[in-house]
């Protein structure tokens, strides 16, 4: 018999290494993957539909729930999109705080990636260390917003509130100790022969294929394509910060690992600059139609009471038009396409989530490789299924 026999199996949706509910239908020839077909949608909750029935400010919490590892990156993209439609800009202090917290979010998100990716490949201890540091970042979220994960701290027009007392000290002590901790993780992995064996040359994708498939973020930069939206189309004042773009050469799992480790160091540098150059001033725009008046004013001024009442009952209206705003989230290009018909609710919001697009390249990376490599490859694209399915 010369006919090759293949076997079709299901991986997921309940598989610990798929980082959520991802189902892959695999056609196997022995241990080699002949065909890999992702099936998604298990976490689809119709966020775009729901957003159409919410007022503009009420959409912010929905964005948290998409990429729950980097809620603030999503908040930022949405706030910037609405602000662009309104034709306003957040005050300088709010912009710097946004940059600082988005970069802390990037570190936190990369730490979860590092821990889970390492545990997938069999390095247990990195997971425990990475989550220790991530805990410190979640504590910071809690300090600024009261919530550890779904922070909704960035609002249209600025921030929920100014930084609490002592916050700068917390951040300062974190960025003082974190680079050494990162060096410890690198000691465990970067030159570890088993880690290298499992990751180098695995899941390779060529730069032209990656661009064709819309891959973005660290996974794209690992192929040698120098594209970081913070550099190419800066937003929220990123042009004032000095940092380097991560860059890989081989487009394999190992280079994606190196890129993210590099990015965490750069994020620390950005956070440090933000702390040093943190300007004073308000954290919200001075527009009573967007931002509720301070509480004491409501008791003194009739206009303030009316503004307050209108904001909480009707929200604010946004001029008719459409904008596209994207930010560099920890996973890649997170874009918001926002259409307004001039009312107080979005006519249409589309969330261009990096995980959804990046997942398309999984079959290209996995086909022809061993089943055991698949786990390493899924980890290396760093998907969040909440964001894939929305």
């Amino acid at each position: 018999m010369t006919e090759r026999r293949t076997m079709t199996i299901n991986m997921g949706p309940q598989h610990p290494s798929t980082h959520g509910v991802l189902r892959l239908v695999l056609e196997l020839d022995g241990e080699i993957i002949v065909r890999c077909m992702p099936h998604i949608g298990y976490l689809h909750t119709g966020m775009e539909k729901v957003a159409e029935s919410k007022r503009f400010q009420q959409v912010v919490p929905i964005t948290d729930r998409m990429d729950y590892l980097a809620p603030l990156s999503n908040n930022l993209a949405y706030a910037l999109a609405v602000e662009k439609l309104l034709g306003i800009e957040a005050p300088p202090r709010a912009q710097v705080i946004r940059v600082m917290l988005t970069e802390l979010t990037r570190i936190g998100s990369h730490l979860v990636w590092l821990g889970t990716h390492a545990i997938d490949i069999g390095a247990m201890s990195v997971f425990l260390y990475a989550f220790r540091e991530r805990e410190a970042i979640l504590d910071m979220y809690e300090q600024v917003s009261g919530a550890r994960m779904m922070s909704s701290y960035f609002r249209v027009g600025g921030l929920l509130a100014d930084l609490p007392e002592g916050f700068e000290k917390t951040v300062r002590s974190f960025i003082a100790s974190f680079p050494d901790r990162l060096a410890e993780y690198e000691d465990l992995l970067t030159h570890n022969p088993i880690w290298i064996e499992r990751t180098r040359g695995v899941g390779v994708i060529k730069p032209e294929e990656a661009v064709d498939l819309g891959l973005s973020g660290p996974s794209l930069r690992a192929c040698g394509v120098a594209w970081d939206i913070r550099k190419s189309n800066p937003y929220s004042g990123y042009e004032q910060f000095h940092f380097e773009m991560s860059r890989g050469y081989h487009g394999d799992v190992y280079d994606r690992y190196l890129c993210r480790i590099f990015e965490m160091r750069q994020s620390v540098a950005i956070v440090r600059q933000a702390l040093e150059g943190l300007p004073d001033g308000p954290v919200v725009v001075a527009d009573p139609k967007l931002i509720p008046p301070p509480k004491p004013m409501i008791k003194q001024s009739m206009e303030a009471l009316i503004d307050h009442f209108l904001l909480w009952s009707k929200g604010f209206v946004v001029p008719a038009g459409e904008v596209y705003q994207s930010v560099e989230s920890p996973r890649g290009e997170y874009g918001i396409y926002l259409v307004s018909d001039g009312g107080n609710k979005p006519y249409r919001v589309h969330f261009r989530t990096p995980s959804f697009v990046n997942l398309q390249s999984l079959p290209r990376m996995a086909e022809g490789r061993l089943v055991a490599d698949l786990v390493a490859i899924i980890g290396s694209i760093d998907i969040v299924l909440g964001e894939v399915d929305r």
Binding site: I40, G41, H44, G46, E48, K49, V50, E52, S53, L80, K84, L85, G87, E209, V211, D212, L213, G214, V225, W227, I229, S232, N233, Y235, G321, E322, V323, Y324, Q325, S326, V327, E333, G335, Y337, V339, Y347, R348, H350, R352, F356, V357, L359, Q360, D389, R390
Partner: protein, 168 residues
């Protein structure tokens, strides 16, 4: 983001006018973003040109989605967000399509369009001609209706659920 400077913006539009004198399209500038409304018959050749022209190189399909303008004719707009990695420019293309009509698939120009077009099909019921594998992507295969259409209710239970609930 998407800040198209005056000179570059004219470059894309003027190049298109020069190369496609027979194509009709309209442009709109809003908040430093340029939108080109084109006919679906011109879509593929314009997309291929925008991707390959050495002075434009829109090689990255950032996003592809649709808007339901219920009450307008044609009803839907399919929206393409293109990005040039080389020139860091963005441009938005729009194609209008009526209910039951199809749009040519751009999967032959950008591989990334594959899942995007499946999502638009899934959510709006817009068909893409020439798509290699057009089927639902987020909703279950047997799902009826297209959730992101404006005449689809925000809160509605599927038929099997309703039937199950009343049969007790």
């Amino acid at each position: 983001m998407g800040h198209v400077k005056g000179a570059e913006e004219n470059l894309t539009v003027s190049k298109l006018r020069e190369w496609f004198p027979d194509a009709t399209f309209s442009t709109k500038d809003f908040r430093n973003e340029t939108t080109l409304l084109i006919r679906s018959g011109d879509l593929i050749r314009i997309c291929r040109y925008l991707k390959e022209d050495p002075g434009l190189l829109y090689d990255f399909l950032s996003d592809l989605t649709a808007v339901d303008r219920l009450g307008d004719h044609p009803r839907f707009e399919v929206v393409y967000h293109l990005y040039s990695l080389q020139y860091t420019q963005r441009i938005r293309l729009k194609v209008q399509v009526g209910e039951g009509e199809a749009v040519p698939s751009v999967t032959s120009v950008w591989g990334a369009a594959d899942w995007h077009e499946r999502e638009v099909f899934d959510m709006f019921g817009i068909c893409f001609e020439g798509h290699p594998d057009l089927r639902r992507i987020l909703m279950p295969e047997e799902w009826e209706g297209f959730p992101l259409r404006k005449d689809y209710p925000v809160q509605a239970a599927p038929k099997w659920w309703e039937e199950g609930a009343t049969s007790d």
